[in-house]
Structure formats: structure tokens, C-alpha cells
Symmetry: C2
Subunit: 296 residues, 2 copies
Amino acid sequence: MSSITIVEVGPRDGFQPIGPFIPTARKLAIIRGCAEAGIRRVEAGAFVGAAAVPQMADAGDILAGLADLPELDAQMLVPNPRHVRRALQAGARHLCYVISVSEAHNRSNVRRSVAESVAEFAELVPELQGVALRMNIATAFDCPFDGPVDDAATLDLVGRLAALRPDAEFCLCDTTGRADPVHVARLHTACAEAFPAVRHWAFHGHDTYGLGLANVHGAFQAGVRVFDAAIAGLGGCPFAPGATGNVATEDVAWMFHRMGIETGIDLGALLPVAVEAAGLPGGTPGGRVREALGRR
Amino acid sequence: MSSITIVEVGPRDGFQPIGPFIPTARKLAIIRGCAEAGIRRVEAGAFVGAAAVPQMADAGDILAGLADLPELDAQMLVPNPRHVRRALQAGARHLCYVISVSEAHNRSNVRRSVAESVAEFAELVPELQGVALRMNIATAFDCPFDGPVDDAATLDLVGRLAALRPDAEFCLCDTTGRADPVHVARLHTACAEAFPAVRHWAFHGHDTYGLGLANVHGAFQAGVRVFDAAIAGLGGCPFAPGATGNVATEDVAWMFHRMGIETGIDLGALLPVAVEAAGLPGGTPGGRVREALGRR
């Protein structure tokens, strides 16, 4: 039986837009619940400006709070060299560095042009020896400001970064949820063909338009075996009614289990954790499986 | 540009489980709204026992109320010969006959064994000359009572019915929403290969576990070009919290438009109809696109 890996990004992408601060202990309890249900990799938080994203201010405590779970691979999101250094100092050994394909989104996200971000990352590379690296290619398909993104632009950015760290895992992110399964499969196929030296690919999808699982399946058909997902489908913005978040971990796991693909996750054990996460004050949960299985 | 056809089944599968009776005029207004947004085919209602499904009691009035829309192909669901005759008498010219693959579901649905349903249909065939026919193969993938359904059982039923009316459109129905895209593609491919005389295939999906669009895409990859969908994702059961319905018409249209596939639907015109349908008292709407586009 073949298998895939789900990276639980709820503690970062899911919690990040939630207004009321989630106590660190409650975050840790959810992460530990995920680990107990079989999740082996988590994006546990982000080292970012605490003023910009107050919900992530406890990243160091989260990392320390997971130190006794050596089997859990905890990656931390970092947007620039300053925060990389903070993360390494706090003991992070797996970083998720993010650069956007679109100028508008990169500027909004990290206040740099794409070229500046790439140059800055190039200077940083010597400091990253021995650190496991995920590269999040944001707006790989579509940009909230500029609309559709050309495949060529995404290939160009991936190529420049792959030349610097070909051993990194490259994750194509459907930031807006407006990609479709044909687009997702096409771009992943093109990337894998263009950069055979890159051995690790991942897909990060949002379910804003209901295409989350269709896109995950599209990426799977193109050979991707690592998928980001957030417990309870968290990730929506509390200030935008109807906004919805990442594909739900429990839905992604359900789909692959139905397809006969191993995820290592015990859905029965994950469901109460998803119900707990769905009840976080200020969160906007998504996904179907939690309720569908809950009422059986 | 290639194209697909969406059959709007909200007025039947979507309205059917809604408790409070929807006034006939309101049903007709929603169907007309769909037609004005470009939908060319609708399952407008069902001729069934009024005691069993009171919401469908006005099927004759619905049919009469659409008589001035000759460009709208209105199919009516019928479960047995008695109701077929009622539908034909009321002027129906496109029937959707339903038989389940699983014994338990067929017995629950039409109180007959599968063999009895097939024999009864065989006797009925001479009366159906000149009537356009859709055959709904219910529980083609999974049964709410018996669980997973063998591909061989579905192929067997389709084969027996195709021998009687090979010109019919055969629709594989994921009654429980527990199919996955691999299963959907595999079974459609197997059917098309086994019964080359059948020229018309369709897929009917539910989004109960969030796989609705992934499954629609799976069927599309297997060559299917006709898809059932319900406006606002209606179809859940008001007595089962969390139950969810058919794939939402607006989500299916959105996905195909993103894929560059023509549906003939003007999403901007369809959205207010979807919002109206989502607000029906007693309904349990689903889908993402309605809210995602509504807040832009």
C-alpha cells in the first residue's frame, strides 16, 4: 500500500488569523492530540513579528513544549533572515521559509520585492547548513492582489531557489484557493520535470471555493506525496464572513484512506482533537468529515 | 473549448428532504432563476407517493408551470411503473428511473428486490417508446445499509438495464458521498468499456464527506460529461445535524470554469438564486462558492 504524509499546519496557518489569543497550553494540547492520532509532522508556529501576528508570539514556548516528542517533526515558519536566526536560537531544526511568486503578495507579506527576497535568502544559505528546509512558494497559482499567476513565473522562482538549496522540500501554495485540479497537476508536473534535482515536493491547498480536496487529488496524481492540511479546516479570517481556511486534515486523511492510501493517522483518535480545534473562540472551521462522522 | 452539462437536481434531491412545504410558486421561481442563469436541464420533481415524500406532491403543477420554457429540459424522477404512468399522463417527456445496486437500499427505497425492479422495468419498456430516459443507478459505490458495493454488482445491474434500453443515459450515483475519486474514475471507466453501446453516462455526487468536487473531477477524467448538482448544495436531511447534500451547482460550475470548461452557466446570475435557495426554511445548504464570491 502506498502512503502520503500530511503536514499539520493548523497550529500556524490555522491559528494565525484567530483574534483571541489561544493559550499556549491549549495549542500544545491540540498539537499533542494530533501527534497521538499519528501525525508525525507539524508546522507548530511561526517566528514572525509579534506586533504583526500576535497569535504567533509564543513560538519559542511552543517549540520548547514539544521537545519531549522527538518523533514529532516540528517545522517553524520564518519570513526573513532575522526571524530565521531567532528560530535557530530557539532550537528549531526544521524551517519553512516563505517567498511569494507575485510581487504584490510578497511585498504585502514580507515587504520586499521577490528579487530582494531571493537575494536575501541566497546570503542566508550558509547559515542554514544542517537545517531541514521547506520552501513555501506562496501564490504559486493565483494572487489575491494580482489574480492568476503564470506557470512560468512560478517555475522561475522555484528554479532560482532550487539552485541554492536543491535538497529543500518545495511546496506549491494555493494561497487563494482559486487553483483547480488541472492547474495543480499541470504545475506540479512541470516543476518536477524542470527540476529533477529537487526530490521533495509538497502541496498546500485552501478550500475557500470548495476545491481543496479536488486539488489535493490533482497534486497526488502529479506525484506529490506531502500535503499541508489544518485540523478542523481552520485558517479562515474572522473578519471576512464566509472566508474559509486550509483543507481540513480529517477530510484529507478520510479521502486518502478511502483511496487505499496510508496516512498513518487514526481518524477515530483525530476526530475529538478536530472537534476541540473547531470550537476555538474566533476560529472559522471548515471541512465535512468531522460532522459526517460525528453524527454516525 | 470543451463543455459539460450540469443537471440541476436541487428541485428534486435538494427539496425532497426539506420538511416545511415549499410553495409551488417559490419552487418554480428558483427553477426559472436557474434557467435564466443558463441551466438547460433540471430534475424538476418526482412522481412518488405523496404520503412518503409530501414535498414532491406538486410534481404535476411544477411540470405544468414549466411548459412555457421549451428550452429547459425537465426530467422527472419516477420509482416504479405506476408513477411512470402518472408522470406520462402529466405530460413528462423525460423520465429518471431509479434502481439501486444494493438489495437493502432498493428495498428501503422502492420496496422491491433488485431482480423484481429489473423485471418490472423490463415489462415497462414498451410503454416508454419516445420517452427520453435517464437510469439512476443508486448506491453504485456504497450503500448506507450494506457499506461498500462491489464494482461487479454495479456492472451487473447496468448491464441488465443497458440490454433493455441502451439509448438511456446511465448515471452512477454516489448515494452516501463515501466514494473517492479513484473509485469514481475506475467504475466509470469499467462501465464505459463493458457497455460500448451506451453512449450517455452521468455522475451524481454528494458532498457529505467533502469529496464531492474531487469525485466530479474523477468522473470527468474518466470521460463523463453530465453531472448532477443541486443549487446551494441542498439535499441534507433536516433531522440529521451535519448531514450534507448534493455537490453545489455553483461550486461545480466554478470548478469547470476554472478548468476552462464551458458549462453555459452565468455564475453571476446563478448566485442570487443560490442565495435564495440556501435560505429556504428547513434546508441545509452546502458548498463554498456562494459565500466565497458573495463576500468579494
